[in-house]
């Protein structure tokens, strides 16, 4: 029996170690020297102790802006100060910025558990899925709703409800080097034939027309996004609706391959070894005259070469100038988790993102485009270029394709570049992926 006692002792201490580990996140007495702060906002911190003059609270915010970490850290500190001053709440914001390639998986894993962040960013294309899953709060009644520009607001609205705060919204198409264009004596083309001419003239002057950086699949995907958007808006406006009904085909979009081939044939070499960032840097250093890339790359371009004369031009798809359009879209949006334990503070933060006093500085320092009435600042010339097209009505709303189709387009563009698929095969495969996605969403 004595032996048993000893064993039990061991057992109990093992269990004890376990319970301690399990409580490791609940603050004081945590055995791990490194886990001295409560890790999750869901830990109950709302019980105020009598001595403390102010309540303390925590918010967990997860964002995919690892390149703007410092700006957002600063903004969170400002918000903490604001909350302390206005509500007498000692707020601590845990800003989590997982690396971008794993962001979606981490967020998803957190959503499935009881550990969802109070606020989180997603791509606007996923608003529908997240709304359906009950993971987004309806923000229609918030003050911020009145500030967002109407054309941007449409992109974050589901069934008439505002489901997220837009953060990155852009008008984008093809970036070009104005100095090279001037040197070759060409102006932005309106039709495919004009684009061919531009390419020829650029080559005569010894410039490579297009920068190709296809290592990351989303970059070549931009070509399909632009060409499909232009073609659909200018020629077959009901294509996407019919695609969702299973009544249309990519066959109708065959035009897009001519311009895509033109780009690939007139591009820089070693495209598969160039990442988006490296591509932007090389474009800035004069490797090519045009780059199918959004204005978000301007940060890298302008730091690499501050002298760069950057412009934006719409990409012609065929000889119908009505198809030559820029893309107006919202990419990153911020959502509020409906079951947040500090929902009031979370909503307050969501409003603070478009705050009348502080928001403009944040958006400007990150290089984001103005998207609300609180953003009264001068934009850079290339952004102004792009918005000029929007004002002239030469823009289309980003097509919302199933995300599996978007992924597939990126992969197929890589394959087209290396020559392992033909346009016919691409049409066939995209039709199939679209149908599969339709089947799943039913």
């Amino acid at each position: 029996m004595k032996k048993m006692k000893k064993v039990l002792c061991l057992l109990i201490s093992a269990c004890l170690a376990f319970t301690l580990a399990a409580c490791g996140t609940s603050g004081s007495g945590a055995p791990a020297p490194t886990s001295n702060t409560p890790a999750s906002a869901n830990t109950d911190v709302s019980a105020p102790s009598n001595e403390a003059p102010v309540r303390s609270a925590e918010l967990t915010i997860m964002m995919s802006f690892s390149s703007f970490m410092e700006q957002w850290e600063t903004y969170c500190r400002q918000f903490e100060a604001k909350v302390l001053a206005e509500d007498k709440i000692e707020l601590k914001i845990n800003l989590e910025m997982p690396s971008s390639d794993m962001y979606d998986s981490i967020l998803q894993a957190r959503m499935t558990g009881s550990d969802a962040p109070d606020l989180y960013t997603i791509h606007s294309n996923n608003i529908g899925v997240y709304t359906e899953a009950g993971n987004l709060t309806n923000l229609s009644g918030e003050a911020l709703a009145g500030k967002i520009f109407e054309n941007v607001k449409n992109t974050v609205t589901v069934d008439g409800n505002l489901m997220a705060v837009p953060i990155e919204s852009q008008a984008w198409a093809v970036l070009y080097n104005k100095a090279m264009f001037a040197d070759a004596g060409v102006t932005p083309p309106n039709t495919l034939d004009e684009l061919k001419e531009v390419c020829a003239k650029l080559k005569d002057k010894g410039y490579t027309p297009f920068m190709l950086a296809y290592q990351e699949q989303w970059v070549p995907q931009l070509m399909t996004a632009l060409t499909l958007g232009g073609k659909v808006t200018g020629d077959v406006p009901d294509w996407l609706t019919r695609m969702y009904k299973g009544e249309a085909s990519y066959e109708e979009m065959r035009d897009i391959f001519e311009v895509i081939n033109l780009i690939m044939e007139n591009g820089t070499s070693r495209a598969m070894e160039q990442g988006a960032e490296v591509g932007a840097a090389e474009f800035a250093n004069g490797a090519a005259a045009m780059f199918v890339q959004g204005t978000w790359a301007s940060n890298t371009i302008m730091t690499t070469n501050p002298e760069m004369q950057l412009g934006v031009l719409p990409l012609p798809v065929n000889n119908n100038p009505n198809c030559t359009l820029v893309n107006l879209s919202t990419s990153t949006v911020l959502g509020v988790y409906p079951n947040s334990t500090e929902k009031d503070l979370a909503l307050k933060f969501a409003n603070y993102v478009l705050d009348d006093n502080d928001s403009a500085a944040l958006f400007q320092s990150c290089g984001f485009n103005p998207l609300a009435t609180s953003h009264k600042y001068e934009v850079s010339s290339w952004v102004a270029d792009a918005y000029k097209y929007v004002e002239d009505g030469r823009a289309y709303q980003d097509l919302i394709l199933p995300s599996s189709v978007t992924d597939e387009q990126g992969k197929l563009m890589q394959e087209l570049y290396v020559g392992s698929v033909t346009p016919d095969e691409i049409i066939e495969r995209l039709n199939k992926v679209f149908q599969d996605a339709n089947k799943l969403s039913q």
Partner: protein, 291 residues
């Protein structure tokens, strides 16, 4: 003689801590994974339906999955041959040296210490910058290939990096086996007039057979699950040309349509493949043990 019951109880008490962490963090997740493979859960929604074997039926006609299986098999086959021949060659060469054995061994094992994520990024630097530099400046034009972008070369690159990471480990096992070959046997065979080649095949090779089967099965097992190298080097591209089964599962679970249930069905299939390999391995080993 104590009763069986008492013995079992006693056993459970000692095994409990291990059993607890094991069930909590391995067995339970594995079992629930199996359950999810029969649902249409997307990983986000709070609700999902039990759909029986539908996922497994879909799998049969999923050409991308089978394409990744084919790629993985090709990868496994090439790795089996290349990594093992290289490792065995190096081990035999080192063993035959009078000096510097330790130095060589130390150098070759080095890559195994480093995470393949880190190693993959270092190689990415080689493929993106260094080889092109050599091609452009030293006139080594055979290096001017799209090492990561072209379907064929991307496969070669992956093998180069994967072998870089695996050879050291295999070599250590072969070396240990070679050191276990009795010197007397080798001497006897050379006294019999056998040359080095003959004595290797007749004496050394049979006595390292157990090590060979360990290495072959280790390569098989780990190669079937390859992820890190592909992820950090090509990301599965161009297109899906270098997508391994593990990457295909990962994509299914986290990208595109986010079919988590379907992805677990795929990983169940991967598990079965690995199970079969292991069953074969055990049988082969046991047979050899009987002989």
């Amino acid at each position: 003689m104590r009763s069986k019951k008492y013995e079992n109880l006693n056993l459970l008490i000692y095994v409990f801590p291990a059993l607890f962490v094991y069930i909590a963090f391995k067995m339970f997740p594995a079992a629930s994974g199996l359950f999810y493979s029969m649902t249409n859960w997307n990983g986000i929604n709070k609700t999902y339906n039990f759909i029986g074997l539908t996922n497994f039926i879909d799998l049969v006609s999923d050409s991308y999955f089978w394409q990744s299986v084919v790629f993985t098999c090709k990868y496994v086959a090439v790795m089996l041959v290349i990594a093992n021949i290289t490792a065995l060659g190096i081990a035999v060469a080192i063993e035959s040296l009078p000096r510097f054995k330790g130095l060589y061994r130390t150098v070759y094992y080095m890559p195994n210490m480093i995470s393949m994520v880190i190693g993959g990024y270092m190689w990415r630097f080689i493929f993106h910058k260094v080889l092109y530099y050599m091609a452009d400046n030293w006139g080594w034009s055979f290096l001017d290939q799209s090492w990561v972008g072209d379907t064929r070369y991307a496969f070669i690159s992956i093998i180069i990096v994967a072998a870089w990471g695996a050879v050291g480990y295999l070599m250590i096992i072969y070396l240990a086996a070679l050191q276990g070959v009795p010197a007397a046997l080798k001497e006897a065979s050379s006294l019999d007039g056998a040359n080095a080649w003959q004595s290797f095949w007749n004496v050394t090779f049979p006595s390292i057979l157990p090590a060979l089967s360990i290495c072959l099965f280790w390569t098989l097992n780990s190669a079937f699950q390859v992820f890190d190298v592909v992820y950090s080097l090509t990301g599965g591209g161009p297109g899906r040309a270098t997508q391994s089964v593990a990457m295909n599962i990962y994509e299914e679970a986290f990208k595109g349509n986010i079919r988590y249930g379907y992805a677990t069905a795929k990983s169940t299939v991967l598990f079965i493949i690995i199970l079969i390999i292991t069953a074969v391995q055990l049988r082969v080993m046991r047979k050899r043990g009987d002989e």
